[in-house]
Symmetry: C2
Subunit: 469 residues, 2 copies
């Protein structure tokens, strides 16, 4: 049992069988209808209900993806792209059945241009694999959504994570995409220039389109030189408002902070128990600074002074790699720490993003909801962007708990919208937030529908995601 | 005489007259068909041929723009948005006649949210007016395309300029837009959150759409804290390659340079004559650093060391505001210096952008073209992005000179495309670069056409720009 999936008209069996037969002829063993494989491809890491596709194909080239999409288009059979399955709003659920295109074997780094600080990879390359590949070049790719997601998937959901405050999100870091359109054409959205005013921004249109406008098969990305020095800090505060005001002042004063993460009191309690971390049960910031030796020292000192003005206590600052790792491990363990709060429980991670001036209010009001709920739900956030997650700890087999989680999520999103925020800062819409999208954008959703209809008139691309057509 | 405009089917006279009559009823004196006003609104600052609209309206609110567009849509009469008319590829030419909507009276700053580092302005607010308004807040808006353009126009052309290397272009700095669609609906493309994964990126679709998908009436922008310290530097080099390699090393080493501008030898010659500047006639870099006192000192020292490794001589570094101003004035005077090269001449400024690793080659090959041409054409560039301008000094009344300028432009753009670059880094397509867009994007242009058709089925929005339909 989990959050229910919308009921869409399933694909016609004859069309489905014809498409699968044609693809089988093309790819042989690389198409499978095995139950276990289909099940695995119909669910992501969320507690949204699974919906297995009718077949899974393992593509190895852009041309193969185009061939598969052309066959599906001919038979009007749904296509669902699949990277690592680490999405969080049911993005990969095959709500009408059809063919799942798994790109995990498209795992080649195609080019690295060190002088230009860019690279091009196949869509199945994961962010960790890319950074491993770059290890000896002095370069790195900063976007870190937590999971070791594929770069195609990260582009498709407009992912970000801990260091977006400094380096931006996938929106800012994708230079161009190779995309297979819903009718099977292969399109490159831009060239390799760092900036361009040449026509509509197709790159940004496909970034965040969640497989509903085409299949991303290659991703060109910005890279960065590994900073000469990095330092990290932790600091706890009397209240969420004090912590957030420290963030606001830090950003306003131009400190180019690389990461700035918040955990609330309940989250720190969970982390203390799980990670044996010696920090108070109080709102806490993690910070990271990138720059020169002198620069990171200056940054840390500036933030320490700002924090002190807002009641920040116990400011721990380190440049030692071992200490830095330990300090951030506690932050990265948050999800496990939350899971460990209740035996047999799982975590429903939802996310919103608000203007940072409204962040303290949004978190504090949400904490009141949680205090009145029978479910624990610690809060962590990428607060430099105004983005935070509620991680509701629930037993997904208990309908009462699922209903309560839905209620909390619903209240959180509506609150974020009322504070001029968005229903999702980085997880995307999937099928979990389709209704919130309408609440957020109003008339603009009709433009999104016009675009979807123009590019995918038969609605075969990842149906039921982002938009209800 | 100037570069010829494409011939499009003019609007039907009855439809035109009916639309103008209906709008006149609505706006009274704020619609004019006076010859001089129409002429002024049919041309921008380029030497593309002018094409006056049939009427010019001065709108004051988003609702008025929507009313005007609805009337035009009803009669299938073209609509051309107009900000300050400082575009450079014929963007405002009314190629089929119709109604020009001048938004210069929409000049209100609607909100400034200092804690969130953002603001919202009407489309007619210019960048200088915004910075004037912000003067006492400690904040500024960095994008500087040279001209005092309207922020609506800057969004429409995806403008950038000297400090995009640090702060990004309009693509990165527009948070959301209010847009009147081709059927007269009012749409807000996003909310005020700093990042979002909620649906298709309509903001980025309209940024750079040059009035072909709707009329931008409001712009929400990112702001920045004025840096604590700024320093500037100039340095000359034995060759363009040495200067460009200095840029590459600077960026790779993570120096967060705020501006990095190149002038080639002929450009320095012109500037020396015009600005009485005591610098050698050699490829020259201007640099600007933003940060803390210690930070800008460290940045300048790092770059000075890198420049020395590449033969950089005569490194002038200053934090003194007067000296900084004088130093940058020479850069800003480049266009006037070029005009002064030939009495009665004008400047045709074209722009391309290539990966920075190909920049030296692109400039050096272009210099060979110029050396063999009878027209002078100095080069300046925002080289941190790989973006540069050829400013061809010509007499626009002489068809031979115009033809030669077209030839040089053609060779430049084709060279940039061959080097994986773009036909325009920041000026946009207008009607001047429509054919180059196809050469650059190939099949992707058909997607742009599908989008244009979906949103503007009657093709009334700024016809003949970006795409040939």
């Amino acid at each position: 049992m989990a959050a229910a999936a919308p009921v869409l008209k399933p694909v016609a069996p004859e069309a489905r069988d014809a498409a699968i037969a044609a693809i089988k002829q093309l790819l042989g063993e690389r198409l499978t209808t095995a139950h276990a494989v289909r099940e695995q491809h119909g669910r992501d890491e969320s507690y949204h209900a699974s919906a297995p596709p009718d077949a899974v194909v393992f593509a190895e080239t852009t041309e193969e993806v185009a061939d598969v999409v052309r066959i599906c288009a001919q038979h009007k059979v749904p296509v669902v792209p699949f990277g690592t399955g680490t999405s969080l709003e049911g993005h990969v659920a095959a709500l009408r059945g059809g063919v799942c295109i798994d790109v995990s074997r498209m795992n080649k780094v195609l080019e690295v241009n060190a002088d230009d600080l860019d690279c091009r990879v196949q869509a199945g390359v994961t962010r960790k694999a890319l950074n491993e590949y770059l290890r000896d070049t002095g370069l790195f790719f900063p976007i870190d959504p937590g999971a070791d997601a594929s770069l195609g998937g990260m582009a498709a959901t407009r992912a970000s994570g801990t260091n977006a405050v400094r380096y931006g999100t996938m929106r800012e870091n994708v230079l161009s995409l190779t995309v297979v359109t819903p009718d099977g054409r292969i399109v490159r959205t831009a060239r390799r220039a760092r900036k361009s005013s040449a026509g509509y921004d197709l790159t940004r249109l496909f970034v965040g389109s969640e497989g509903t406008l085409g299949v991303i098969t290659e991703v060109a990305l910005r890279l960065y030189g590994i900073p000469q020095a990095m330092s990290s800090a932790m600091c706890s505060f009397p209240s969420v408002a004090d912590a957030v005001n420290t963030v606001i002042m830090t950003i306003q004063s131009g400190v180019p902070v690389a990461r700035i993460e918040l955990a609330d009191g309940p989250q720190m309690d969970a982390i203390r128990k799980f990670s044996k971390l010696d920090m108070p049960v109080a709102p806490t910031l993690w910070l990271e600074f990138h720059g020169t030796e002198a620069g990171v020292k200056e940054q840390a000192e500036m933030v320490q002074a700002i924090a002190a003005d807002h009641g920040g206590a116990d400011f721990k600052w380190t440049t030692n790699p071992e200490d830095r790792k330990r300090l951030w491990q506690a932050r990265h363990d948050a999800a496990y720490a939350n899971k460990a709060l209740r035996q047999g429980a799982q975590v429903w991670a939802t996310d919103v993003c608000v203007p940072i001036s409204r962040l303290a209010e949004c978190i504090t009001e949400t904490q009141k909801d949680i205090a009145e709920s029978f479910l624990p739900a610690p809060i962590v956030g990428h607060v430099g962007d105004g983005n935070f997650h509620l991680t509701i700890v629930l037993k997904p087999d208990d309908p009462k708990e699922v209903a309560e989680a839905e209620r909390l999520n619903d209240r959180l999103v509506k609150r974020a919208l009322a504070l001029e925020g968005t229903c999702t800062g980085e997880h995307g819409v999937g099928y979990g937030k389709v209704d919130f999208l309408v609440a957020e954008h109003g008339e603009a959703v009709s433009l999104m529908r016009q675009i979807k209809k123009a590019l995918d008139p038969d609605g075969i691309m990842n149906p039921g995601k982002i938009l209800r057509m």
